[in-house]
C-alpha cells in the first residue's frame, strides 16, 4: 500500500519528533535549566504560578526565536542548495540573536552534544557536513539538522525546539523547588496551544535576516548571573 495514504504507515505524528523532543534523549539537556536555577536563587521563580509566568515568557521570547531558527536549519539541511557552505551563515544568525555570552555558550554546548548523539543515531552526510563546517554549532542549528536527518519536517523541528525551550526548564524547577510534578506537567499541557502557535509561526522559507529576534533581557541577566555563581547544580 502507498505509505502516503495508509495512516498506519504514515502516522500524523512523526516518531522521530518524539525522540528528538524526549528529555531522555542522551544529549546533555538534563543538566541545563534554561535560567530557572538562577531565577530560583533570585526568588523570581518560587512556586507553580511564578513558574507558569517564567515558562510562558521563555516560550514567547527565546523559544520563538529558537523554533524559527531550528525550522530554518531543517530547511537548509534539506536543500537545495547544498547546505554545507551555508551553515556558518545560519549559525551567525543565532549568535546575532543571542545577546548573553553565557547563553551563547550554553547553546553551543548543547548543540555540540546533540550533534554527537545525532551522528550516531541518524548517520547522514548532512550531519557530517555540519560537523565539518561548524563543529560546535548552536543548538537550533544542530536540532534542525538532526531533525532533517531523522526524517522530520521544518515544522516538526520547530515544535521540538519550542518544547525544548520549556521542557528542560520545567523539570529543573521540579528538582530545585520540589514542586508537585503533576502540577508542573499541567502547566506544560496548558502551554500546548502556545507551543502549536510558536511552531506554526516558524516559517521555513524567506530571508534569514528577517527571522524573529525577540530579546528577553531578564533571561540574559539570569544567564550571566548564573555563569558567575559560586554554587550551582546546572550548567545553565
Amino acid at each position: 500500500m502507498d505509505p502516503a495514504v495508509n495512516p498506519a504507515v504514515n502516522p500524523a505524528v512523526n516518531p522521530a519528533l518524539l525522540l528528538l523532543a524526549d528529555s531522555r534523549l542522551p544529549a546533555g539537556g538534563h543538566a541545563h535549566s534554561g535560567g530557572v536555577e538562577q531565577a530560583v536563587t533570585s526568588g523570581a521563580v518560587h512556586d507553580v504560578p511564578s513558574l507558569a509566568g517564567f515558562l510562558r515568557g521563555r516560550l514567547h521570547t527565546a523559544g520563538t526565536v529558537a523554533a524559527a531558527l531550528t525550522a530554518a536549519a531543517c530547511a537548509c539541511a534539506a536543500g537545495p542548495p547544498p547546505p554545507e557552505p551555508a551553515w556558518g551563515l545560519l549559525d551567525a544568525e543565532v549568535d546575532a540573536r543571542t545577546a548573553a555570552p553565557a547563553q551563547r555558550e550554553a547553546s553551543r554546548t548543547q548543540g555540540r552534544l546533540l550533534l554527537r548523539v545525532a551522528r550516531r543515531v541518524w548517520p547522514s552526510p548532512v550531519l557530517e557536513g555540519l560537523a565539518r563546517a561548524v563543529p560546535n554549532p548552536h543548538h537550533p542549528i544542530a536540532l534542525g539538522a538532526a531533525a532533517h536527518a531523522a526524517g522530520a519536517t521544518p515544522e516538526e523541528a520547530a515544535m521540538a525546539a519550542a518544547y525544548h525551550a520549556v521542557g528542560g526548564a520545567a523539570t529543573a524547577a521540579v528538582r530545585l523547588l520540589g514542586l508537585d510534578p503533576v502540577a508542573v506537567h499541567g502547566l506544560l499541557a496548558g502551554l500546548a496551544p502556545d507551543l502549536a502557535a510558536v511552531a506554526g509561526a516558524a516559517r521555513s522559507g524567506g530571508d534569514w535576516e528577517s527571522l524573529p529576534a525577540h530579546s528577553s533581557p531578564a533571561l540574559d541577566l539570569l544567564a550571566e548571573q548564573h555563569a558567575r555563581a559560586d554554587v550551582r547544580l546546572f550548567i545553565s
Partner: protein, 224 residues
C-alpha cells in the same frame, strides 16, 4: 568556546584512545582521595586526565587542583543538574564531551579518570563512558554494605573498601566485608585500603596500571 572549536567526535570502539576509568561510590567514601592517590602514583609514568562530577560547586576539582597532583588544566568539572547518576549512566554526553576535550587538548592520553558525584549503591557508569569502573565503599558506612549488594558493589571491575584505619573505631569487621563481597562478586577483585595511611594507594594503582597496559595492548591505534 567558539563555533570553530575542533570537531572531537571519536569512534566509539576505543581504538587509539585512553582507557576511561570510572570511580563511583557513596558520598564521602574517599573517591577524590583515591583519584588524588592514583594521580600521585601513576602521574610520573602515565599521561593522565581527570573529570569530576561534583554535585554542588566544583569542590572535588578544586581539591585535586590544590593537591597539586596533576597539572590543573588536566582536571575538568562537569555539572550534573541535581542528578549525578544521570550524568554517568543515562545521559553521558557532558562527561564524554569533557573526556574528549581533555584528549584533544593533551592527547594522546593513557588514562582518563572520571569521578562520579557521590551517590547511592545503585549508581554505576555506562559502558559508553567508562571502560573500567571502581566502586569505593568505606568501612564507616557499616560492614553490612557489601552484603546489601547493588549494581555498584556487584558489577564494578574493582571494589575498594577504604578507610580501614577506622574499622576498630566503628566496629566494622573487615573479614565479614571480604566474605560478603566475595559472595556477591564472584571472582571480581576486592581491595582494602586506607588512603590516610597509604596516600599512594599502591595496591589500587597496581591494578589500574595492569588495566591500562591491557587496554593499550588491545586498543592500539589502527595503523594508517
Amino acid at each position: 568556546m567558539g563555533a570553530n572549536h575542533e570537531d572531537h567526535h571519536h569512534a566509539p570502539d576505543g581504538h587509539g584512545r585512553a582507557l576511561r576509568l570510572g570511580v563511583g561510590g557513596p558520598v564521602g567514601s574517599g573517591k577524590t582521595a583515591l583519584v588524588a592517590a592514583l594521580c600521585r602514583t601513576l602521574g610520573p609514568s602515565l599521561s593522565l586526565g581527570v573529570v569530576t562530577n561534583d554535585i554542588y560547586t566544583t569542590e572535588d576539582a578544586e581539591f585535586l587542583r590544590r593537591a597539586g597532583v596533576l597539572d590543573e588544566e588536566r582536571i575538568l568539572a562537569v555539572e550534573t543538574g541535581c542528578c549525578p547518576h544521570t550524568a554517568i549512566r543515562d545521559d553521558i554526553a557532558a562527561n564524554l564531551d569533557a573526556v574528549e576535550t581533555l584528549e584533544d587538548r593533551f592527547g594522546p592520553l593513557d588514562l582518563v579518570i572520571v569521578e562520579s558525584g557521590g551517590d547511592n549503591l545503585t549508581a554505576t557508569f555506562s559502558r559508553g563512558l567508562a571502560d573500567r569502573q571502581i566502586f569505593v565503599l568505606d568501612v564507616s558506612g557499616g560492614d553490612k554494605v557489601p552484603r546489601k549488594g547493588g549494581p555498584g558493589v556487584t558489577t564494578a571491575d574493582l571494589l575498594v573498601v577504604n578507610k580501614t584505619d577506622l574499622a576498630p573505631m566503628v566496629g566494622a569487621d573487615l573479614g565479614v566485608m571480604d566474605r560478603d563481597a566475595a559472595a556477591v562478586r564472584g571472582a571480581r577483585p576486592v581491595l582494602f585500603t586506607s588512603i590516610r595511611q597509604d596516600p599512594t594507594a599502591a595496591t589500587v594503582a597496581a591494578w589500574v596500571s595492569e588495566q591500562v597496559a591491557a587496554w593499550s595492548h588491545a586498543h592500539a591505534a589502527h595503523a594508517s
